[in-house]
C-alpha cells in the first residue's frame, strides 16, 4: 500500500536557514505519528511542508500520492491543518468560517451543522463573528473546520493548546474516529501524556532531522473491531 506521507532527504528553508535538513519519514495510511522534540527541532516545519505551506527545496516529498513539489493545490484539498493560530476571518461568523473551509475543500456542507453543535458552538455562538470569540472558542472553530472538512491527512500542531478539557476530549475522539475510518495523522506536541495514547508511533526530531522513533500506546484495532494494547 502506498504511504500516506513519504519524505526522503527532504530539505526546506525558512528564509536562509534550514527548517528541515534532510528529513526521512514514512507514514502509513491510517497511522497516527507523533513528532516530539525541542523547540526548533523541525516538527512544525514537517507539518507545514506536508500541507504545502513550506516549500521542499531538495529531496522527495509525496503526500497521499501527490508530489508536494508539483501539486500543492491538490495536496491542500485533502489535508487539514490545525496550526498555532486559528486561520479564521474575523468578520465572518462561526458558521460562515466553517462553511467556507468546507466548500473550498469540496467537502460535504451537510457536515457543518452537526460538527458545530458537537463542538459546543451552536446557538448564539454560531452567529457570532470570530473577532468576538475567546481564544479557546476560536480554537474550537478551527477544530470544527478541520473535522467538517474530513481531510485524509490530519496535521495537528500542538492541538491541545488553548483548549479546555472538554474540547481536548472532543479533539481526541474526533481523531480516533477519523483514523478508524482510514485517515492518517501527524501530530506535533510537547504533551506526551496527552498524545501518546493516541499514537501508533513516536518520531523524535532535532535540528531539522529525524533522530529516532519508538512505538506509541494507541491500541491497535483488529479486524472485527477488537482492540489490543
Amino acid at each position: 500500500m502506498a504511504s500516506a506521507v513519504l519524505l526522503r532527504g527532504a530539505v526546506a528553508l525558512s528564509g536562509r536557514f534550514p527548517a528541515l535538513a534532510g528529513v526521512d519519514l514514512e507514514v502509513a495510511p491510517g497511522e497516527v505519528v507523533v513528532l516530539f522534540g525541542p523547540n526548533g527541532a523541525g516538527k512544525t516545519s514537517v507539518l507545514r511542508a506536508c500541507a504545502g505551506l513550506l516549500a521542499i527545496s531538495q529531496g522527495d516529498a509525496m503526500v497521499l500520492g501527490h508530489d508536494l513539489r508539483r501539486h500543492r493545490t491538490a495536496v491542500r484539498r485533502v489535508v487539514g491543518m490545525l496550526g498555532h493560530e486559528p486561520a479564521l476571518y474575523d468578520d465572518l461568523t462561526v458558521a460562515e468560517n466553517v462553511r467556507f473551509g468546507v466548500r473550498a475543500a469540496g467537502a460535504d456542507p451537510g457536515a457543518v451543522d452537526p460538527v458545530i453543535e458537537r463542538l459546543g458552538l451552536g446557538g448564539r455562538v454560531r452567529r457570532t463573528p470570530a473577532a468576538r470569540l475567546s481564544a479557546g472558542q476560536r480554537r474550537r472553530v478551527a477544530l470544527a473546520g478541520l473535522i467538517a472538512r474530513a481531510p485524509r491527512l490530519w496535521l495537528l500542531d500542538e492541538p491541545h493548546a488553548a483548549l479546555d478539557s472538554e474540547a481536548r476530549d472532543l479533539l481526541d475522539d474526533a481523531l480516533r474516529e477519523a483514523t478508524a475510518s482510514g485517515a492518517t495523522a501527524l501530530v506535533a506536541s510537547h504533551e506526551p501524556d496527552r498524545v501518546l495514547p493516541l499514537a501508533d508511533r513516536v518520531v523524535d526530531m532535532a535540528g531539522g532531522r529525524v533522530t529516532g522513533q519508538q512505538r506509541g500506546q494507541r491500541p491497535r484495532q483488529l479486524p472485527g473491531g477488537a482492540h489490543v494494547a
Partner: protein, 223 residues
C-alpha cells in the same frame, strides 16, 4: 476555478457587508478627495466641468488603493493567509474572486463619487453608454492590477506604503484613458474620440486579468 472564484468573491463581499470598511471609510474618502480638488480649483464652474472626469478618476484611483489594501489585509490577519492557501482553493480562482469583489465595491463607490462629481461640477452626461463602458472597463483593470500588486506587497513589512508606490504608477494608463473616455462621454471632447480610450481600458483589464490568473499562485507562495 470559477467555483473557487465565486466562493472567494462571496466571502470577501460578505466580509465587506459586515465590516462596511469600503462603504463607511473608503467612499467618504473618495468624496473628500473630490471636494478638496474642487476647493483647490475655485468656484468657477467652467474649469471644474473641464476637470470633472480627471478628478473623478483620481478619486477612484486613490480609493482603489484603500480597497485593495483592505482586500489584502483580510487574508493576512491571524494567519488567515495560510487558511486561504490551505483551503485548497485554486490560486487563479482566488485571484479572480478577490478582483471581482474589489471591482464590485469600486463600482458602488463610483456611483457615489460619479453622482457627486456631476452634481458638484454641474456636468451632464451626453453618452451614458460610453460612460458606463469606460467605468466598467477601468474598474476591472484597477481591480485586477490592484489585487495582483496587493498580493505582491502582502509579504513585505512595508506593505501599507509599498502598495501605493507599486500600484499607482502601473494604474496611470487607467487614469489617462478613463479621463479621456469620460471627457468624451460628458461632451467636453468629441464623443467618437472616446472609443479608442475605452479599448485601451479593455486591453489593460484583459492583460492584468490574464497576468493575475497566471502568477497569483506564485505570489501567494512567495509572500
Amino acid at each position: 476555478m470559477w467555483r473557487d472564484a465565486l466562493l472567494v468573491a462571496a466571502k470577501d463581499l460578505r466580509i465587506e457587508a459586515r465590516s462596511r470598511v469600503v462603504l463607511n471609510q473608503v467612499a467618504p474618502f473618495a468624496v473628500l478627495v473630490l471636494v478638496l480638488f474642487a476647493l483647490a480649483l475655485g468656484p468657477d464652474r467652467g474649469p471644474l466641468r473641464q476637470a470633472a472626469p480627471g478628478l473623478f478618476w483620481v478619486a477612484v484611483l486613490f480609493a482603489s488603493v484603500l480597497a485593495v489594501q483592505r482586500s489584502a489585509a483580510v487574508e493576512t490577519t491571524d494567519s488567515s493567509r495560510d487558511g486561504l492557501r490551505l483551503s485548497g482553493i485554486d490560486p487563479a480562482g482566488a485571484f479572480l474572486g478577490k478582483a471581482a469583489a474589489v471591482a464590485l465595491e469600486l463600482l458602488v463607490l463610483e456611483v457615489v463619487v460619479g453622482a457627486g462629481a456631476l452634481v458638484l461640477f454641474g456636468s451632464s452626461v451626453r453618452s451614458p453608454g460610453a460612460l458606463v463602458a469606460a467605468s466598467l472597463a477601468g474598474t476591472a483593470g484597477l481591480a485586477a492590477a490592484g489585487t495582483l500588486y496587493g498580493a505582491l506587497s502582502t509579504g513585505t513589512r512595508m506593505r501599507e506604503t509599498l502598495l501605493p508606490l507599486l500600484f499607482l504608477p502601473v494604474a496611470a494608463p487607467v487614469l489617462l484613458a478613463g479621463t479621456r473616455a469620460w471627457q468624451a462621454a460628458l461632451g467636453t471632447m468629441a464623443s467618437s474620440a472616446g472609443d479608442p480610450w475605452v479599448r485601451i481600458l479593455l486591453v489593460f483589464a484583459a492583460v492584468y486579468l490574464a497576468l493575475g490568473v497566471v502568477v497569483f499562485g506564485a505570489l501567494q507562495e512567495a509572500s
